[in-house]
Symmetry: C2
């Protein structure tokens, strides 16, 4: 992943994700891709968390499975990211595992890209003020993606853990995004000053919202609500959702896991693919409050994985790994016992792996 990113440049890579994702959203239909609502195991022991699966089938071509872990105590308890994930891509004509890729970076990229696409459709940026509530890993790619689409002049930050807020400027500096000022502020100030607000916290189940309902906001505020991604976990005050237009990435999933959990069916706006296909569904949306309810859509993972495989292939990058142990005889799972290692190596399935 680092070699691909360094070769292409991280901004070019983000532009590529945004461009591919916008095309994919605009042409999405169940006839192109079959995407079930994700499912997973949720638990509190030994620590609160979940492992879930996000499958996506591009009809006639491939299946991408993303396995995702969400463990909010990871950073403090063991220095690991809150979100860990792995992508696998399978050939739908044979079931053959074609490639594996780490999903840590790809998830951040595609989540940022989705917010940038939604913001381009719904935000109204005049002063260039972006607010971030929750300034961990996902906030970095939110800002990175927005910076590719908007002239950002000021970034206002709040995190419940002040050290995570304080470290943000240093982390983002390495991306060379130096056109804006970064300041840590009280949460109310972030909310009331922002033109685009990205919320990406690890707030606990039933512990939201992450800011008060009575904070005044700018009239055309656009919010990317990124952190709400499991039943009971929501970040935004209900009255704010009801005053604005809520656009989910994947409605059925957002109704179970996103901010849409808080809403009645008739309070939910069109989903992002529909809005991209027909922006006239929401005339004047950039002048009023809009909320992108981003639960994380497996279509985004399909696009990210297809992209990384294409780029790696064209750049000649990736380690080939033997995983499938099939040899020459498809009817003999014991065959490897009788083959010399060098023969086995020759015939075994080889899979590019991108770390």
């Amino acid at each position: 992943m680092s070699e691909i990113t360094n070769r292409l440049g991280v901004h070019t890579l983000m532009d590529e994700v945004i461009s591919r994702l916008e095309k994919a959203f605009s042409s999405f239909s169940p006839e192109v891709c079959e995407i079930p609502v994700r499912a997973g195991f949720h638990y509190d022991n030994p620590r609160p968390g979940l492992v879930e699966w996000m499958p996506c089938y591009r009809r006639g071509k491939s299946v991408v499975m993303k396995m995702v872990g969400y463990h909010p105590q990871n950073p403090v308890a063991c220095g690991l990211p809150t979100i860990l994930s792995t992508y696998s891509l399978f050939d739908a004509s044979t079931g053959h595992l074609q490639a594996i890729a780490d999903g840590n970076f790809l998830t951040a990229l595609r989540t940022g890209a989705a917010s940038a696409i939604a913001s381009r459709l719904m935000a109204n940026v005049e002063r260039g003020v972006v607010g971030l509530i929750g300034t961990g890993a996902q906030a970095m790619s939110q800002l990175h993606a927005l910076s590719r689409c908007f002239q950002i002049k000021s970034v206002m930050l709040f995190d419940a853990d002040s050290r995570v807020a304080e470290s943000f400027a240093g982390r983002i500096a390495s991306l060379g995004l130096d056109s804006f000022e970064v300041s840590v502020c009280p949460v109310a100030e972030v909310v009331s000053e922002s033109e685009i607000l990205c919320v990406a916290t690890s707030v606990g189940i039933n512990e939201g919202p992450v800011f008060e309902k009575n904070i005044p906001i700018r009239p055309g505020l656009h919010i990317n609500a990124v952190g709400s991604d499991l039943p009971g976990k929501t970040e935004l005050p209900l009255p704010l959702l009801q005053r604005g237009t809520v656009v989910p990435d994947f409605r059925e999933q957002a109704e179970r896991e996103g901010e849409c959990q808080q809403l009645n069916a008739d309070e939910i706006g069109p989903d992002l693919p529909s809005l991209l296909k027909n922006p006239d569904l929401l005339p004047g949306i950039s002048d009023s409050l809009s909320i992108f309810d981003s639960t994380g859509f497996a279509l985004e993972d399909l696009i990210a994985m297809e992209m990384i495989l294409e780029l790696a292939t064209s750049l000649g990058i990736g380690s080939a790994m033997e995983i499938e142990s099939s040899a020459t005889d498809p009817h003999n799972p014991y065959e490897f016992l009788n083959l010399a290692p060098e023969v086995l190596r020759r015939v075994a399935g080889r899979h590019p792996v991108f770390a």
Copy 2:
């Protein structure tokens, strides 16, 4: 996988799977492991097949995901096994990917082991006659597992593809199982002579059964029905199921995908875990017709994966692979851009991979 198997011996390995699986079935409860019914993408284009996911959560400890492809045209169309699969094991305290293993061999082992356990409970073997209908990859491990639990004297084979039947003796010979005679026979003869019958075919959806309902059978016949594993795919004649006692591995899944699809709820017997806990549920079962409806239970995959990881660790086998790209800062998914490759390598997650 080959190194572990060669070091331990393939029979010792099979004995280990049988022993662990019997313990796991006997102590299984939803409080120990959470196992949803598997789901997947089913299609006919470009060739008939499916890719499905079989997750299993050992509470408080780990998640094992098996991704399975079933593509019955694989052997003829491209020399690949019909069933391809990959196992991934995740630490449930962090979501960290701990290991990946090929599932081709493990699936064969655990499916054979489950049939051996069921047969030991329900079969009555006097003459030592085992029948195999469908003699591909799965039939090999069915016979291998049975040979670890029964004195087998004669193996009678039938396959719709006579070349696959003819090649069976040569394939199984490499396991050193020389105590029995192997003969290719008409399907009716296999059915009527067997004391244990294993059915593991790639019969098409709605194309079953694979033998006629009126063939006479021996009174205490035990059938391991292995091939029925997706909606519409069944192998056995309904009257036979209705005359016997049907024991599913995982009832809810068998009702959707197994022989149990053909039955009403009140025609289904206890499941294998219940029967192992309490054999008195079916007194005298070895003297009457019994059918093990083996759809493939994710618990079996959990046990297989835990075993292979334990064995590999104790034997010091496996390649370490970097997949997760997390580095030192859990809040910075871009960190790898600024780290020297040797630093990145040191801190990256390393995962044993077993091919």
